[in-house]
């Protein structure tokens, strides 16, 4: 068991450009085990690019990324202990919910063991979908689909969970419900969690720390600490005030 002070992710002087067009410019930050860090930035600022680089899905130009002390770029593969939840659920439409979660084991190993099957059932229960295991994606709502995607990521027991605006496109009620559930799961599992969002309200409610990014070429504009204990209250006057400040800041950035 690692102590909570373990560095789950370290990004150092990360630089990325597409065809000489700089996207990320010297990004440096750390995420500790058991910590929830929101990366907040205006649309199109390179948040997703940053997340895809950390997931080793796309290459970068300069810098250093390590996950639990291990250099990510040294291996060509996606690091085993990183889980990714994308903005879209990305479910296989021809598989039911259970088999979509099962996909992780089918892709990872040659055989799915009895034990793996139990892990799948537990994950479906954890995300509240045990009654919908047999349902196909077209029969599920947007929120439910994202729950399946979350379960598919959780069965891998990731020590670093990356979420790329996972609740965008869902209605407010479902969003708040899922925020709380994900917070619950995260506090049970205690992994490092990086949550990318463009919504200051969401970031303020969720995060231990918010890393505020600028417009392109992206640099870190501010790092805000939120030591407020959980469960937190939504939309407190202080949170509203801060949210306004951040929105003003984004408006100045983009106009």
């Amino acid at each position: 068991m690692e102590s909570p002070g373990t560095e789950a992710l370290r990004v150092e002087k990360l630089t990325k450009s597409y065809n000489h067009l700089p996207v990320l410019k010297g990004i440096t930050f750390s995420v500790y085990r058991g910590e929830l860090v929101c990366i907040l930035g205006p649309s199109g600022c390179g948040k997703t690019t940053l997340l895809r680089i950390v997931s080793n899905l796309i290459p970068y130009n300069q810098g250093k990324i390590s996950v639990y002390g291990k250099d990510v770029s040294s291996s060509q593969a996606h690091p085993q202990n990183i889980g990714v939840v994308f903005q879209e659920p990305r479910l296989l439409p021809w598989r039911n919910a259970r088999n979509n979660v099962r996909l992780h084991f089918e892709l990872e190993a040659d055989k799915v063991t009895r034990q793996d099957e139990d892990v799948i059932d537990n994950a479906l229960t954890l995300v509240g979908l045990s009654d919908f295991a047999e349902a196909f994606p077209y029969q599920l709502s947007g929120g439910m689909k994202q729950r399946v995607a979350l379960a598919r990521t959780l069965v891998a027991d990731p020590q670093l969970l990356l979420m790329d605006e996972p609740l965008t496109g869902l209605d407010v009620h479902t969003r708040e419900e899922l925020q709380d559930e994900i917070i619950n799961i995260w506090s049970q599992k205690g992994m490092g969690l990086v949550w990318v969002t463009h919504d200051p309200n969401e970031a303020i409610y969720l995060a231990d720390r918010v890393i505020v990014l600028s417009d392109r070429p992206t640099v870190i504009k501010a790092v805000l600490e939120f030591p407020t204990p959980r469960p937190r209250r939504r939309n407190t006057p202080q949170a509203k005030e801060l949210e306004e400040k951040i929105r003003d800041f984004f408006n100045h950035e983009t106009h």
Binding site: V84, F86, E88, L103, H104
Partner: protein
């Protein structure tokens, strides 16, 4: 349901009526009536060897379609994964298959292999392979890159990616290819069996033709038509509605 069935029944009845009128008006041995054709069809099919010829042709169609599918899928995928294979398939194999009439292949195969199963089966292979090549190309061009990226966060194995993600995404395209192939196979096998076999429905058609047995020519012709209709409206239509729905749900959404 009833509303849709009525015009269909009326059209078919009209077709049979006109056929019957023409046959009766001409009163010629060259034009059997629908009734004579149908009774000849049943006589042929239920004759002791009749079924055997149907089964032999069906075997050749299925074997040829399966081999053609395997070849077409492999060639189609190869163009995607290998530069040299891409050049060879796109510059040579595909144009050759597309431009040479299937009947010419049949004649060449007769010269090479003589009168046996080989000629009709290979004829079907060259006739159907292009359908699979084209559909695999199209399918590979339409792959959902989001799903592939997602799978990359779970595995590095190219083989697993192909088996679990890419091939299933190609199923609708392979289904379309199989459907068109099957129709084509049943048509192209007739000349292949006329020129290159000593058994099968095409061979029986040739014998009836040479013996000037018009009723039998019509009977075997109807047999081919009924098989094609049974498969296209029955098997393929049913599979399409029953199983391809989940894949279609994906297409509509994206």
């Amino acid at each position: 349901m009833v509303k849709r069935a009525v015009p269909v029944i009326v059209s078919i009845a009209a077709f049979l009526g006109i056929w019957w009128a023409v046959a009766v008006y001409n009163d010629s041995v060259l034009m059997p009536t629908p009734w004579e054709t149908i009774s000849s069809f049943f006589k042929l099919i239920f004759a002791p060897t009749g079924w055997q010829h149907v089964m032999i042709t069906a075997y050749r169609v299925i074997a040829g379609t399966l081999l053609g599918a395997a070849a077409g899928i492999l060639l189609g995928l190869a163009t995607h994964y290998n530069r040299i294979a891409e050049t060879i398939v796109k510059a040579v194999i595909f144009p050759v298959l597309q431009s040479i009439p299937v009947l010419c292949w049949t004649l060449i195969f007769v010269l090479w292999f003589g009168l046996n199963d080989m000629t009709p089966i290979l004829t079907v292979v060259v006739a159907v392979a292009p359908y699979f090549i084209i559909n695999v190309w199209e399918g590979m061009g339409e792959l959902d890159t989001n799903l592939i990226e997602m799978a990359h966060t779970h595995t590095e194995s190219r083989m697993k990616m192909l088996r679990k993600i890419i091939m299933p995404m190609l199923y609708p395209y392979l289904f379309a290819a199989t459907r068109s192939s099957f129709m084509t196979a049943w048509k192209k096998i007739i000349p292949a069996e006329i020129f290159g076999a000593t058994s099968g429905m095409g061979y029986m058609l040739a014998i009836s033709f040479e013996g000037y047995r018009i009723n039998n020519v019509f009977g075997w012709t109807i047999a081919f038509a009924l098989i094609i209709i049974a498969f296209d409206y029955g098997v393929f239509s049913y599979t399409d509605r029953k199983f391809m729905r989940k894949w279609k749900a994906q297409e509509q959404k994206l």
